[in-house]
């Protein structure tokens, strides 16, 4: 099959390289006493020797390539399972010291006196995530509808890159902007307006605001995908019956792409729930349930970021933080699975 002239010439060259590398390996072993280079050249020699005898056919190439792809796929799945195993194994330590109900119901987080109550942090996390989703969902949905149905083509060419870039902005930059813009704004204007004059600007509401901006691009781009998947005939049928554009959107497009929108919201929720750095920079980092929304708090993810430095001095703290990471993982897992199930059921019911 192979062109024999080319293979003959290159084989001749390879044989020379093989002999030279065997020679070099002996030099490094006996003259320089360098075992690493000895081993390296010996391996080159052996590979070339093997190559000389085994004819690499296209079938062997195919089998090797396929096995390699299988190996890589299997090892990534293995890494994923290893991650789960490490998180569970790491949290066993704290779970044997304190009962699960203590961890989840008590709200005193004092690592130095061995108290790891997560209740306040969990409530704060839920509040922050809920507010950020309340802000993000309507704005993202309305923007996505506008981009998909109303916007002129020229405008779309401008806004699409905007959304891509917004999705790529690092979370630490979001956090920095929140520090510079939202913290003073909330301290000086918004919090006093709502009657809490003592707010420092660092608090749950500040974190929610920046989180909602971070979630926009995720929900918008996923919604756009499912809006664009709605067949044009459905829209035209509705319009031809005399419905206005908005009525068509409300009654046809929203229904047809509802599961996609729901899945987008789930994914956005997961992102907001697990965001660490931007939140840690502005949330105030106190493990309490604040009396007002503008008071300082702590979310599960930011708890890890603000406590990890003490891990080496308090061994049990490491286990507690791994347990927190496990909670984050499980919640994100559940929301991803929900999104997946919604989409799968939808694809069965809505088969155009």
């Amino acid at each position: 099959m192979h062109s024999s002239a080319q293979s003959g010439a290159s084989r001749y060259k390879l044989q020379i390289v093989g002999i030279i590398s065997l020679f070099l390996s002996f030099i490094f072993l006996f003259i320089f006493n360098n075992f690493i280079l000895f081993a390296l050249f010996l391996i080159i020699f052996i590979v070339l020797l093997a190559y000389n005898f085994i004819k690499i056919t296209r079938k062997l190439y195919d089998a090797l390539g396929t096995r390699l792809m299988l190996f890589v796929t299997a090892s990534v799945i293995f890494l994923f399972l290893l991650l789960v195993a490490v998180l569970i194994n790491g949290s066993l330590n704290i779970l044997s010291e304190e009962s699960l109900s203590d961890l989840l119901v008590s709200s005193t987080w004092k690592p130095f006196s061995g108290e790891f109550g997560l209740f306040a942090v969990i409530i704060d996390t839920l509040i922050v995530t809920a507010i950020s989703m309340l802000i993000a969902i309507p704005i993202s949905l309305l923007s996505a509808i506008y981009i998909a149905e109303y916007a002129p083509k020229k405008f779309n060419k401008i806004i699409r890159p905007f959304i891509d870039v917004l999705a790529g902005v690092p979370s630490v930059v979001f956090g920095l902007c929140a520090l510079l813009v939202f913290v003073p704004l909330i301290r000086d204007d918004i919090a006093p307006f709502f009657g809490s004059t003592l707010s420092s600007g660092f608090g749950l509401f500040t974190a929610s605001l920046i989180l909602s901006i971070m979630v926009f691009p995720i929900i918008i781009s996923l919604c756009l995908e499912s809006f664009n998947a709605v067949p044009i005939a459905l829209k035209e049928a509705s319009l031809s019956l005399g419905a206005t554009k908005w009525e068509t959107i409300k009654k046809v497009i929203f229904r047809a792409s509802g599961p996609g929108v729901l899945a987008a919201i789930f994914l956005g929720f997961g992102r907001a729930f697990g965001e660490t750095i931007a939140v840690a920079m502005v949330v105030g980092n106190q493990e309490i349930i604040p009396k007002s929304l503008f008071g300082p708090g702590q979310t599960l993810a930011s708890l890890i970021a603000s406590n990890y430095t003490e891990v080496s001095s308090i061994p049990i703290l490491a286990s507690a933080l791994i347990f927190v990471a496990l909670i984050l993982f499980v919640v994100v897992l559940i929301f991803n699975l929900l999104g997946y199930l919604v989409l799968r059921r939808a694809s069965k019911r809505w088969s155009y």
């Binding site: 195919d62 902005v169 902007c177 510079l180 993982f329």
Partner: protein, 283 residues
Amino acid sequence: MNRRNLEEKLFLGLMLASVFIVMGSLILIVTVIVLNGVPSLSIEILTQTSEGSFYLGAGGGFLNAIVGSLLLALPATGLAFLAGIAIALYLQKDFLRSSIANFIRLCLDIMWGIPSVVYGVFCLTIMIAIGMTGGSLLFGIIALTLLEIPIITRSIDESIKMVPIGLKESAYSLGSTKFETAAKVVRKQAMPGIIAGVLLGFGRGIGDAASILLTVGDSNYFPSSISDQTAALPTMILNLVSMPDQVVQNKAYAVAFVLLVIVLLISIITRYLTKKSSKHIIK
């Protein structure tokens, strides 16, 4: 009739307002970082490494953080790309039953959703278990690789799904093996997706702070081996901004400006390269 039109007008107004908020937030972020970052930017801050107590106001620059970030994100992206392209090609119907492939896709989607801090905790746990303290370049790379694998894989996978079946069939009919078809025909056809995925992953990796924060530590020098601690742009921003001194804090904006410029550049390069490479694919 009037009421229906009124409702349409009302919602159109709300939509325009929403789009304005979304676009405005990006404009706000870029303006704030540029306005605050550029004044504290200088040639020496970009070309020197940090001096002794950089966080307490000492001189020097953050070249060590720029190099550190590149040393973290480039190998991680390389590894994630190698894994990603192998997995994405293997997920085709030619190699795997689609039920198994869909399960692997679900796993990858879950990996995509996992907060980056969890990858940080994973690596930190292993570091504690093997008795390594303070952080190392190696574990930063591992954390970022794990973070980037699902992003790159799914992006390549989506563009492989678009490869026309006729193209594969003609490759088979000419006698090429499965692996040859995947590695030569499908790979070339999926090139725009591969480029977009790799650059997307790189942008994510270089900007991620949570996984790096837990794994790489800090250093004023260039790392000389993979077990060294290293500085990185996102962690340096965090360290600088937590200092009380205003002059030191201002340096954080300069670092953030550099990071933002890198991310914007990646986004522009992605657009340019995907456009250029999609000229050569068969439609």
